[in-house]
Amino acid sequence: MDAANPLPLKERMRLPRQRMPEQAPEARRENFAEVNLGLDAALARQEALRCLQCKSHQCFTGCPVGVKIKDFIALVLRGDYLAAAAKIREDNVLPAITGRVCPQEEQCEGRCILGKNGEPLAIGYLERFVADYERRVGQVGLPVKAPPTGKRVAVIGSGPAGLSAAGDLVQRGHAVTVLEALHELGGVLIYGIPEFRLPKQIVHEEIENLRRLGVEFRTNVVVGRTVTVDELLGPEGYHAVFIATGAGLPVFLNIPGEHLCGVYSANEFLTRVNLMRANEFPAWDEPIYDCRGRDVAVIGGGNTAMDAVRTALRLGAATATIVYRRSEAEMPARVEEIKHAREEGVRFLTLANPVAFLGDERGWLRAIRCQRMALGEPDASGRRRPQPIPDSAFEIPAQVAVVAVGNRGNPLVQATTPDLKTNPLGYIEADPETLKTSKRGVFAGGDIVTGGATVILAMGAGRRAAQAIDRYLRTGEW
């Protein structure tokens, strides 16, 4: 495959990593359009030329679903972008999405040999380039379906885990119905990750592809309320169930003043904007508390916090500040999001922990009392544990606060399925390989098993579940 690359290895290593063209920070903080504009063919080729086509190709081991990275890069160099896309799709059914949102620096790119002495290959940019090319020419190759097996599978939740399982199951000839609680499909891809990072159109297209493959989608069905798992397996006539309900229960800080007007969970703040389009009020009916001219503080340091704080800026906040109890080095957010946030004017208040929300006499937030922190010994997660510095309280003004300190598993399905084993945090217990739960015929995967993780891990879980469900349906063995 390497024949496509005319450059000797030494020269390849001298090429600089290509930069992603993006909207200028001053412009983009005023709009919700995508920040990254994507590589063109010339830039993509320039970047692909850097790949050393290593024998050991460590990049591959860094990808949770094992995308054959060096093979697809070689196809990019040949200019055969459709073949490159097909190569990625062998292992990753949502490349236009993962190319945009994977934490590449910890995964594929984190292992790339080029990173040892310089910058790693921009695998994410290239994955996105190829997937966007495929979308643009409208030639997403729909896979061939196996003949119908007569078996029916219910998939609960339409996030990346549910969608990828549905796609694989329908290809194997099973009849698949996806049940979704909200009125729109896509899970966090729709209601959590903002348009400026992941255009909703891409998610809609992926879902449309699944629909064309024959997946049936039913919105407005809350499993546990509208119908239970036992009913799905009994009177509703499904032969297996895959639970992919995500980690959608917001965690609050449990500090005084959390009920004040102006204090949001990140889920609510982002849902109002992404799902309900509160940023387009009153053309859309859902309002959001007017951030214009106000001070907005977002508590947390993950992707969710970055998304919320950058959304606040775009809603016209006078100041938008990240309040995080460790230092920037420990922030779990993708490096690119932190960089983009900073360029857009987000302020970072690190080593600070909120201890109370302070309100005015009407019950509205006016300030946050914080405490300074210092980093101590590493904790179980390997990150240094933040400890409060005595007598270090101070206040920051804030009329809007968004709490983005994590999520738990939503209990609706578990609570109505008594024979489903869960762990003390409320997540469903499932075998990591087969994704089987304690209940016959019921599989679970994605964030509802692992806790808040990543799109690609959820997708990988969905695919493994599809394999195991297929085996179960064919053999009847549990």
Binding site: A181, L182, H183, T219, N220, V221, V222, R225, T226, V227, G248, L249, P250, F252, E258, H259, L260, C261, G262, Y264, S265, N267, E268, T271, R272, M276, R277, E280, F281, P282, A283, W284, D285, E286, P287, Y289, D290, R362, G363, W364, N410, P411, L412
Partner: protein
Amino acid sequence: MYPILEARWLAPEVKLFRLQAPLIARKQKPGQFVIVRVHERGERIPLTIADAEADSITLIVQGVGKTTKLLNTLEAGQRVLDVVGPLGRPSEIHRYGTAVVIGGGVGTAIAYPTARALKRAGNRVLAIIGGRTRSLVILERELRGFCDAVHVTTDDGSHGEKGLVTAPLQRLVNGPDRPDFVLAIGPIPMMRAVAEVTRPHGIKTMVSLNPIMVDGTGMCGGCRVVVGGKTFFACVDGPEFDAHQVDFQILAARNAMYREAEQRALAEFRAQAHPPEECRLTRAHPELAPLAAS
């Protein structure tokens, strides 16, 4: 899409809808609600399931703002875009003895299914229903159908007793017929006043709270209420809570959070011309024309 089988006015601004929604109809229990989205750009609003038949559910809607007024322009034969449910915990139905069910305004509709369930469970059920004026008192005839007594109050004295629902309640509490259980649903000041009447007597009193909701599944936390000093999500832990433990002040403050935006939406909605001979919904939302015609 959820077809409207029946739509009729019960009072000015209060309309009853029967919607085809078989899954929800089969599952619902008294005290549960649905979340409705009327059109493509609409918000999600919670509405109590007032009644259910084999394939249909009944909603009773008071037009207070843009979404409820828009919904109330719909007629039988049209459809509602999204209806999800049943949500929330069902009312706890026990055999208490004497149960008093109090409804203020459209709160009567919310209390109605629970009142009937209490009756079926063998309670003596007394209803107290109130409104500002005669035309705003709803479901009186239906309640008289099964309640042991129905007291009516109006602010202006145009029907029943002049005054607030708390007056007959106070009499019952002081009298020989002391209630064993009270359920009160209506405006926040009314529920708070009821709680204060029963508190000194230690009578178990439940109220159904109406915080602003988005998803209704416990995902956003926007519906959080403070009860007994602890935070609960009304859409999954409620909507009914112990009246003596509820922090009504926080609820009232949080419900006022979007007042400016709500008033703006309502003003813009009203500013649109609505010639009565045309469908007012499609006038306001031309993109709905094909659906409304079907």
